[in-house]
């Protein structure tokens, strides 16, 4: 009656094995490591880098316990923090010989000490959230309205130049909100413009029922275009953030999209939070200035004279000095796009698109400075670097600029990327920010750990005393629950936060409910006079419906939290929901297996060790189930 078929035991064994393997990595802790990753989009990290790291470390007499390349970065693991710090300095010298122009990010990191055989099974420790590791969390919201306005500006400018080219007269083109308005009262013109827009401007559509009578043609941006503009804006902002964060030397930054217009940035282990905020919050980093072409300026450029007053000296990437005037003509804010491509003669070129204001300013500058040079300077880490300093050949209107000559396709790509990276597609605002000091993170882990351990010990102690052998079974089931839950969290790589640990503790407290239900039911059956085997059977059978009901209601609450919760609540809800599922397995299925294994094969079972069962009719004298020793007969 209380026997499990073999396949049920097989399931239990397999579940236990999987649980053990995947929860195991959490026991090994972390060891200090140095991580080398690319600091610029143009620098690739590959197996060659691994060799360089190994060579550099060997030369310095440092013995890493492991050097590995994981696709994006090379990580070297060390036994002590002392070695780690030395290695960082060594690698920093090797990979960034010029500290002013860093090409690689050399960062300190903590790597899980998971043995290779476990790692090869895909086992990894739980992913700790920021509140446990320390670091900075930002939630940024991209101003999509501004992105659309910029797009409308560009389209208005384009339309203006096309109309001018074709000699179509109009009463002025303006942007109002996200729409472009063309003033015209001439009916023939109205139709020509509308047809032109239809054929040449796929991004725009004429408003419904537009007629010449109103005196204006309102063109709105198509919904598909709006979507792509928003997606691009978000992507570009994320790229920009990536580039900026690289400067910080963070080992594992998280930059993720959240919803349609938000970006989450998490920088674990960052100590200098002020700097992180400063770098993330930076706006324009791109400046357009004129090159100082005076005699003094040229002399300074050759290095034969001092930098003239009102000018500054910057270096090009090839080390060539450029003397530029202090006056900033345009900033990255006015640059809407930069793409690599080819010019009319099939030479590699970079195509820039400026917004409305940028185009006007640019036209004026180019008209007045034909034959002179203009410099585009990118400011990184507060230092300027001249991206390119082309000669102005002619007046450029319409906001479309082409930089070409003496560059390879790769260089064109680099320049375009640098130009794009320097500018944000749309302004961003920090709407949520959390900074957790590193000591607080460690404290939180300790606190969470203590809560779980003490709660667990109290329950186990009580269960063993109150329910004797059945209490021991329940405690083993509870341990299995904990192992399975940790394994599941490690396997899913769900972020574990402090509320998550609280949910872990709470899951233990709630999981024991099922065991208490079962144990009480068995006692009750015994009290009513059932034979021990029948009591065990009926106890499990009858408690099951109740356990299912109560777990479903708890699960409803957990799922609602998961659906609508954010941040800390989500971390709680994930663990809470998983905990309910694992507890159903361990407290019912697994515990029954244990009981069956122990008692099931004893045909003439006289008593079960479930603590004293008191019967009202025998005035307080205990009847069934005495000391555990006498149960094994």
């Amino acid at each position: 009656m209380n026997r499990y078929p073999l396949w049920k035991y097989a399931i239990i064994v397999v579940a236990l094995l999987i649980g053990l393997i995947y929860s195991l990595p959490n026991l090994f802790g972390e060891s200090p490591a140095v991580q080398v990753s690319s600091g610029k989009a143009t620098v690739k990290v590959d197996n060659g880098t691994t060799a360089r790291v190994e060579a550099a470390l060997a030369e310095a007499g440092l013995k890493p316990s492991l050097v590995q390349f994981d696709g994006n970065s090379v990580k070297a693991r060390f036994e002590t923090t002392d070695e780690q710090l030395k290695a960082r300095d060594v690698l920093e010298r090797v990979f960034n010989p010029d500290p002013a122009v860093p090409t690689h990010v050399v960062a300190l990191n903590l790597l899980p000490r998971t043995p290779a055989w476990l790692a090869s099974l895909g086992a990894a420790p739980m992913y700790l959230g920021l509140d446990l590791r320390g670091g900075v969390h930002f939630l940024l919201e991209v101003d999509m309205a501004a992105a659309l306005q910029r797009r409308a500006d560009v389209l208005a400018t384009d339309l203006r130049s096309v109309l001018r080219e074709k000699g179509i007269r109009h009463g002025g083109i303006n942007r109002s909100g996200n729409a472009v308005e063309v003033r015209t009262s001439d009916e023939a013109n109205f139709d020509t413009i509308r047809d032109l827009v239809r054929s040449q401007f796929p991004d725009l559509q004429a408003a419904e029922g537009a007629s010449a009578a109103s005196g204006r043609l309102v063109l709105t941006i198509r919904p598909e275009t709006i979507r792509t503009v928003q997606e691009q804006a978000l992507k570009q902002n994320m790229t920009t953030l990536h580039n900026r964060i690289n400067e910080l030397g963070v080992a594992e930054p998280v930059i993720q999209q959240q919803g349609a217009n938000r970006i989450v940035v998490q920088l674990p282990g960052v100590q200098d939070t002020a700097k992180a905020k400063d770098i993330l919050g930076r706006t324009a980093t791109l400046e357009l200035r004129l090159v100082d072409e005076s005699a003094e300026g040229r002399a300074a450029e050759r290095g034969t004279g001092p930098v003239p007053f009102g000018s500054e000296r910057y270096l090009e990437r090839n080390g060539q000095a450029v003397i530029v005037k202090r006056e900033v003509l345009l900033t990255g804010e006015n640059l809407t796009d930069a793409q690599a491509g080819f010019d009319d003669t099939q030479q590699p070129a970079v195509h820039l698109t400026l917004d409305g204001k940028g185009s006007r300013v640019f036209r004026d500058i180019t008209r007045e400075n034909i034959g002179k040079r203009m410099a585009i300077i990118l400011f990184e880490k507060g230092q300027g670097e001249v991206v390119t300093a082309p000669v102005i050949r002619s007046e450029i209107g319409g906001g479309r600029v082409q930089i070409s000559g003496a560059m390879t396709t790769v260089e064109a790509n680099d320049t375009a990327l640098l130009l794009r990276a320097g500018s944000l597609a749309a302004p961003m605002e920090i709407i949520e920010e959390r900074t957790i000091g590193p000591s607080l993170g460690a404290e939180n882990i300790q606190r969470g750990f203590n809560s779980v351990v003490w709660g667990f010990l109290v329950i186990v102690g009580f269960m063993c005393v109150y329910y004797m052998l059945f209490g021991v079974f329940s405690s083993i089931a509870l341990t299995v629950n904990l192992v399975l839950l940790v394994a599941l969290l490690s396997l899913l790589q769900a972020t574990l936060t402090l509320p998550g640990i609280a949910a872990l503790a709470l899951a233990l407290g709630m999981a024991i409910d099922s065991n208490v239900l079962i144990n009480e039911r068995i006692r009750e059956e015994l009290r009513a006079g059932a034979s021990p085997q029948a009591a065990i059977h009926a106890g499990f059978e009858r408690a099951w419906a109740t356990i299912l009901d109560s777990n479903v209601t708890t699960l409803i609450a957990a799922l609602a939290l998961l659906m609508f919760g954010s941040g800390p609540v989500r971390g709680f809800a994930v663990v809470h929901a998983l905990g309910i599922l694992t507890s159903m397995f361990s407290a019912v299925f697994f515990m029954r297996g244990l009981v069956n294994l122990w008692y099931g094969r004893q045909k003439k079972l006289k008593s079960v060790s479930i603590g004293q069962v008191w019967r009202p009719d025998t005035t307080g004298v205990s009847v069934a189930g005495t000391a555990p020793a006498s149960d094994k007969e």
Partner: protein
């Protein structure tokens, strides 16, 4: 060991009226405090900046407050100890034209100027739009839980049980909120999670008792409704106390070891668990009785459904 040696069913339902009046008064008080005092919402809901700093010596709150108000913040800016006497939590309202980063840096700089050993532990900034979203989502989550659970109970038992179960537990939720309003404890996102978790958890209690009521209706044909309910409550007493004590043990360990972050979380759970027992036993049971549940309500419906999980199917005692 056997803690509960109850010879006869305890006549809970005889005192149902008195107990219900007590619940009603507690409930009314909770609502009263919620309305008059309101919840002390954390920065997650209201928007603003929280700066947590720690000193190597016990901090002089008066001085810290003076420094903060010296920066132009209102006199009622919240400056309080957080966990230990060395840790101080400062809560700043949002300020026009200043980012939260600037706010927290400014405060930290001012505090450093006074006492250089101050260390920044944590800052948190939440924009007002996020706060509004959180309030909205929190209410939505509560609604989903309430509807979901009562629908499930209605399906498994009968609509009267669904309504009684959810009313009994909403009563707990309001009382937890009442406590938070009365003592002006900080109501954070973690507390909201605790409240919803308790809602799911203490419904268990009602489920267990309802299960027994159904069983007793079948088993003891001669008992009338109050007697059946008394029997159900009495026979689950032992389980109720033990399982809640176990859960409470974990919650208390969080309360004592979990540090300030889990403090109010554990507190909300404690109140929820204590009132959860009370409400399922006295409120839930009594409500079912007042709604006039009959033997026919349960026995007929389950037979018709042919419930595969029927705990009574085939068992002879």
């Amino acid at each position: 060991m056997e803690f509960f040696r109850i010879k006869k069913d305890i006549p809970f339902m005889k005192h149902a009226l008195v107990l219900n009046v007590i619940s009603l008064v507690t409930f009314a008080l909770a609502v009263f405090f919620l309305v008059t005092r309101g919840l002390h919402l954390s920065v997650e809901f209201t928007g603003g900046t929280v700066v947590e700093v720690s000193y190597s010596q016990p901090a002089d709150l008066g001085k810290v407050r003076a420094i903060v108000t010296g920066l132009g913040y209102a006199d009622d800016t919240q400056v309080q100890n957080f966990g230990t006497s060395q840790d101080v939590m400062i809560r700043l309202p949002p300020r026009e034209g200043q980012t939260s980063a600037q706010q927290s840096e400014q405060v930290l700089a001012a505090l450093k100027a006074d006492q250089p050993d101050v260390v920044l532990q944590r800052t948190e900034f939440v924009g007002p739009q996020v706060g509004e979203e959180l309030v909205h989502n929190g209410l939505l989550a509560l609604a989903v839980v309430v509807v979901g659970i009562s629908a499930y109970l209605g399906l498994r038992f009968e609509w009267k049980f669904g309504i009684a179960g959810i009313l009994a537990n909403l009563h707990d939720v309001v009382i937890i909120l009442g406590f938070f309003a009365f003592f002006q404890w900080e109501f954070s996102l973690a507390v909201l999670a605790a409240v919803l978790a308790v809602l799911g958890y203490s419904v268990n209690e009602s489920v267990v008792i309802f299960d027994r009521i159904r069983e007793a209706f079948r088993k003891f044909r001669k008992m009338d409704t109050p007697q059946v309910i008394d029997h159900a409550i009495t026979s689950t007493m032992s389980r109720t106390i033990i399982t809640h004590a176990s859960t409470e043990a974990v919650v208390l360990s969080m309360f004592f070891f979990g540090g300030p972050t889990l403090h109010y979380f554990a507190l909300a759970l404690t109140i929820g668990i204590v009132f959860g027992i009370y409400s399922s036993v006295f409120v839930g049971g009594a409500l079912v009785m007042w709604m006039g549940v009959k033997r026919e309500d349960l026995v007929r419906t389950t037979r018709k459904d042919g419930d595969p999980n029927d705990p009574n199917a085939g068992a002879v005692v």
